[in-house]
Amino acid sequence: MFETIAILFIFFIIVLFGFIFYTRIQKTTYKAEQEEAVILRAIQIAEKASFLPEIQCSFDNVPVEDCIDKYKLEALTPIIDPNKIYYYRIFGDSRITINQTYPSDTVSWTLYDRPKEGERLSTQIPVSIYNPATDQYTFGVIYVEVYR
């Protein structure tokens, strides 16, 4: 009988080791999944920013990809703050800036800024910036920084 108890005792010790090992593996897998979710969210925010109807160029209601209307951008920037709850639901904790790079790189717009402590993931999307009054294009980049 004591032999049986000893065997059972050792058996449960082995099961315990197995359980600890399994839990450690699960933790690592969970961390990897969390990382993937953060990257996915960053891509989603970048996609939403570049396809936002409020700033996207359109001609006779046909949207143009990778193009931002300068006047729409300037009109939207002051509207973001009074509607910050609405835009927080789109962009979350992130910072979105549009920088003109050519012909001059001195023009910049901060579309959305809601920073948070911690690491951030950065995405850059090249775009054209269209001036409807002069019918001219310039080059620019959308910087999307998503905070973890």
Partner: protein, 340 residues
Amino acid sequence: MKKKKSQISIQFSWIFILIAGAIILIFFIGIIYKQKAVSETRLAGTVATDLEAILTGARISTGTVNVIQIPKIEATFTCDEMGDSWFGVDWEKTGIKKSLPIEVVFAPNLIKGKELITWALDFSAPFKVTNFLYLTSPEIRYIFVNPDEEIYEDFPEETTKEEVLTMAGISDKNNYKVKFIFFDQAPGTVPAPLQHMPNKDITAIKITGKTIEFFEKENSRFKSTGQTFYITKPMLYAAIFAEDKIYYECNLKKAFKALNIVATVYADRETTLKEYYENNPDDRRAYCTLYYYEEDTTALKQISEACIQDMINCPGLSDPIAKLEHDNLILKEHSCPLLY
């Protein structure tokens, strides 16, 4: 005496073995059940996250219909009078849900099966405001009764749709949900082969002009649950996919909120354009300042704001929308920068 002692000892050993064996079995069965629950919750969480990404992508690619293979799950979609909008994956079992505070998604309250059909259309009024995303399953049946051909033809082929002239001859095809779409005729009675289905699984809409009336099954008849309106074709399709009037109007409110913001942007843009040409009289297009009528974009902005407060004001959007379409045409004819 010794023989008796050893016999008792053997019996006790067996009892001890049985008890120990039972404890070990219970222990491992307990772990299995716990692990099963954890795995189901994890799967639901993963599916919910992936579904969210699919919804984001599908919203961007308008005009296309996608059939997506999904694990055999039950997705619940809700949008109520308080504006609480979310979707859940096996929600009752796992509690996993994701909020949809601004995404305009029209879907039945329950989608189940191995395939998810997504379809996105632009909502323009008259400029693009947002995308409407329609979701359904091939296991949901859509019966168009004496339909407008254009509306029927444009409805995705990937869905389980059928066109009938009358309600006679409709059979049960073992779908878990059936939606009837009537054009200018009263719904009448529920076809006999479908009367056994739960009341909540058979719904209908009746389209008359720009009015939509929602119905739900009440035993053998259709009972009206309220009337609403539509302005554009995407809104009409929204009523077909939406579970009921509350869900439809809840999502429309999100669309009108977006409309209010976009209208404000366009109003400011128009003002900036007009001011640019007024301040640059030597510009080759300085004459364009004559064709910017700011009152129309302002009217759209104001009515959309009133519409968010009370849906009864929403049909009033048709007028400024039509005027802006006309204004844009005038600008096009004069080679001026368009409103949208």
